[in-house]
């Protein structure tokens, strides 16, 4: 009886646990455990799980495991191992989507270890595609002439024309740092921006023109915006001048992005720079300038625009921005001697500035009934009527 019970128990265990015992431990479950360790920042445990995962041929997401392994190794303070893992990911899974963030990780490690050669290799723009050269004219070969000697010191003509912006005199093409990047590749624009952001502090004279080129030549506004962000973040005067140039020269969307960053990170000269941009800007760019001036509460510049701008919409935007900046006195003066058709905007701005006294005066004395009504309505919203 006991033997039967024991046998039955064994059968039951085999039935329930059999599939689990038969299945290989790990694969995606192992990766899942590793991610939980990563969530808890238990890097040693995560590395152990991930190493097992990347060496398991049955693991369906080895590329993902390799990325998280590199991430964990770097977090654990082993950048050399992380670099090797990134290289392995590139080699074994060159088309994996995890390669891109792994390359970002490599840029970050290179910055930390001050490996400018690696950063320059990544930041270098890809060479332009070789143009299709026209066939050279046929020259009949002289029959009975001796071969002319080649000029001894003449340099070899290049097979293709030099790239437009990348000349050996300006900056030689960097050598591929094979220990870090075993297989050559051309970085995408965002990766180049990341590398350039690592280099800008020590090499502003070389980096700033490259970032400017990215902002000028790029169809992707997000990439252009990020290039401008890196310029703005650097705090370098030359970078700020470049942003001003971009705000005046680039496509409209990039100009708007440049104005925004200029307003956000501009220094003491920002008002002057914004007004320079304003002088020859499109209406959309002008509106962005007005908003940036408002962010700086620059009442004098806004008043100047409110007085001189012929576009009524822009003028009113400047006036309303004055109100948000709380500039009551300039608004009162604008009401008194500014254009009559701007008075509705002035009333709105006085409302924003909560200038009850002036609104009350306008509500009682303005000759235009519509303006008086507008002022009364604003006072009512302020709880004064």
């Amino acid at each position: 009886m006991n033997i039967k019970c024991f046998a039955a128990a064994l059968l039951a265990i085999a039935f329930t646990a059999g599939p689990a015992l038969a299945a290989p431990p790990g694969d995606s479950q192992r990766l899942g455990r590793a991610k939980d360790y990563i969530a808890d920042e238990q890097w040693a445990h995560a590395i152990a799980e991930l190493k097992a995962a990347v060496n398991d041929p049955k693991e369906p997401s080895r590329d993902e495991a390799l990325f998280w392994l590199a991430h964990s190794e770097y977090q654990a303070g082993d950048p050399a191992a992380a670099i090797e893992t990134v290289a392995r990911l590139e080699r074994d899974f060159p088309s994996s989507r995890w390669v891109r963030p792994a390359r970002s990780l490599r840029v970050e490690i290179a910055e930390r270890l001050r490996r400018d050669d690696v950063l320059w290799y990544v930041a270098t723009p890809p060479p332009p595609p070789p143009p299709s050269l026209p066939m050279p004219p046929r020259v009949p070969t002289p029959v009975a002439q001796p071969p002319s000697p080649a000029p001894a010191a003449a340099p070899l003509a290049p097979a293709t024309p030099a790239p437009p912006r990348w000349t050996p005199e300006a900056a030689p093409l960097p050598e591929q740092p094979r220990a870090w990047i075993p297989a050559p590749f051309h970085a995408d624009t965002d990766l180049r921006i990341e590398a350039l952001s690592s280099l800008i502090r020590d090499h502003p004279d070389r980096v700033i023109p490259l970032l400017k080129d990215i902002a000028l030549d790029n169809d992707d506004v997000s990439e252009a915006r990020r290039a401008i962000f890196v310029l703005a973040q650097s705090g370098q005067p030359a970078a700020r001048r470049t942003i001003v140039d971009l705000a005046r020269e680039a496509t409209e969307t990039v100009r708007i992005a440049a104005v925004r960053e200029l307003g956000r990170f501009g220094g003491d000269e920002v008002t002057h720079q914004l007004l320079r941009v304003y002088a020859d800007a499109t209406p959309r760019v002008k509106r962005e300038v007005v908003i940036s001036l408002g962010d700086h509460a620059d009442a004098a510049a806004l008043v100047r625009i409110a007085r001189t701008e012929s576009d009524a919409t822009l003028r009113d935007t400047a006036i309303i921005t004055l109100g948000r900046a709380g500039a009551r006195e300039p608004l009162r003066t604008l009401y008194a001697d500014g254009p009559r058709d701007a008075r509705h905007a002035v009333v709105t701005a006085l409302f924003s500035a909560r200038d009850v006294e002036e609104l009350t005066r306008i509500a009682n004395t303005d000759p235009d009934p519509a303006v008086r009504r507008d002022a009364r309505e604003r006072l009512r919203l302020l709880g004064r009527r």
């Binding site: 008002t271 004098a300 709380g326």
Partner: protein, 258 residues
């Protein structure tokens, strides 16, 4: 960029929240019949509202301190008082802009919207007494660090929608297609998050760098992983919880943790 002036104004959002007066509402309805972009914007708002309707109010501001919240709400609604449309500051894409507006508006609720419109930004002390005849004054610049903090807050505000969406989904009932939206949005936020994290590290803003780093891991996991099954969603949720990401984002968003 769009050619539609209505799209650039807050009218679609105000229409969505029933804030337009009857005449404006009628005009907007007529415009919506003609304009596919605005219709799409309206649909985006609906999607966002449905998504947020399921969320607990985990990112409501602390009781008694609504200043940061009101400031963002003001940003979202400020153009309503203007006769001319004024563009919003943070608008990388139209959808993201609507999301930012919608998230703020939903969380603040309709009553707060009214208060915000009646309560403009308090008058800034600077330049309030500048006279029109005075020459332009070279003002002290906004410190770059403060500007970066503001930028980080805005980015975290945008990212909150993804993190909230992930954190509050029910894994039992969520199918892979249900969180495809969060996965896509996570991918679009990843590059900026990395850039801001590194900028924060350069500036020595370790708290910001830390939150951005946690956010980056969540966005990587969400946007790049091949798996969108129940276990994957639960794992992302655990990651968000264990890193206290929502709490950190809320603190940062309120400006007190920067």
């Amino acid at each position: 960029m769009t050619a539609c002036d209505w799209f650039d104004s807050p009218r679609v959002a105000l229409y969505f929240y029933g804030e337009l007066d009857p005449a404006e509402r009628e005009r907007m309805a007529a415009h919506l019949r003609e304009c596919a972009e605005c219709r799409q914007a309206l649909e985006d708002l609906r999607v966002v509202r449905e998504a947020l309707a399921r969320q607990p109010r985990v990112d409501a501001p602390p009781a008694g301190d609504w200043s940061g919240f009101m400031r963002r709400l003001e940003l979202a609604t400020s153009a309503t008082t203007a006769s001319a449309p004024v563009s919003h500051r943070s608008r990388p894409t139209p959808v993201a802009a609507w999301i930012a507006i919608a998230a703020t508006l939903v969380l603040a609720a309709g009553g707060v919207l009214f208060v915000a419109r009646a309560r403009p930004t308090p008058a800034a002390p600077v330049a309030a007494r500048t006279t029109v005849t005075a020459p332009p004054v070279s003002r002290p610049s906004v410190p770059a660090e403060a500007a970066f903090k503001t930028l980080s807050e805005q980015h975290l505000e945008r990212s909150k929608l993804v993190v909230l969406g992930l954190a509050t989904r029910d894994p039992e009932t969520t199918r892979p297609a249900d969180w495809a939206y969060e996965r896509t949005l996570a991918g679009s936020l990843l590059t900026d998050t990395r850039l801001y994290r590194r900028a924060a590290q350069d500036r020595g803003l370790t708290n910001v760098a830390r939150v951005m780093g946690d956010l980056e891991v969540v966005l990587l996991e969400t946007s790049l992983s091949d798996h969108a099954d129940r276990e994957s969603l639960e794992r992302v949720q655990r990651l968000i919880r264990r890193r206290d990401l929502l709490v950190k984002m809320r603190v940062m968003g309120e400006g007190s943790g920067l």
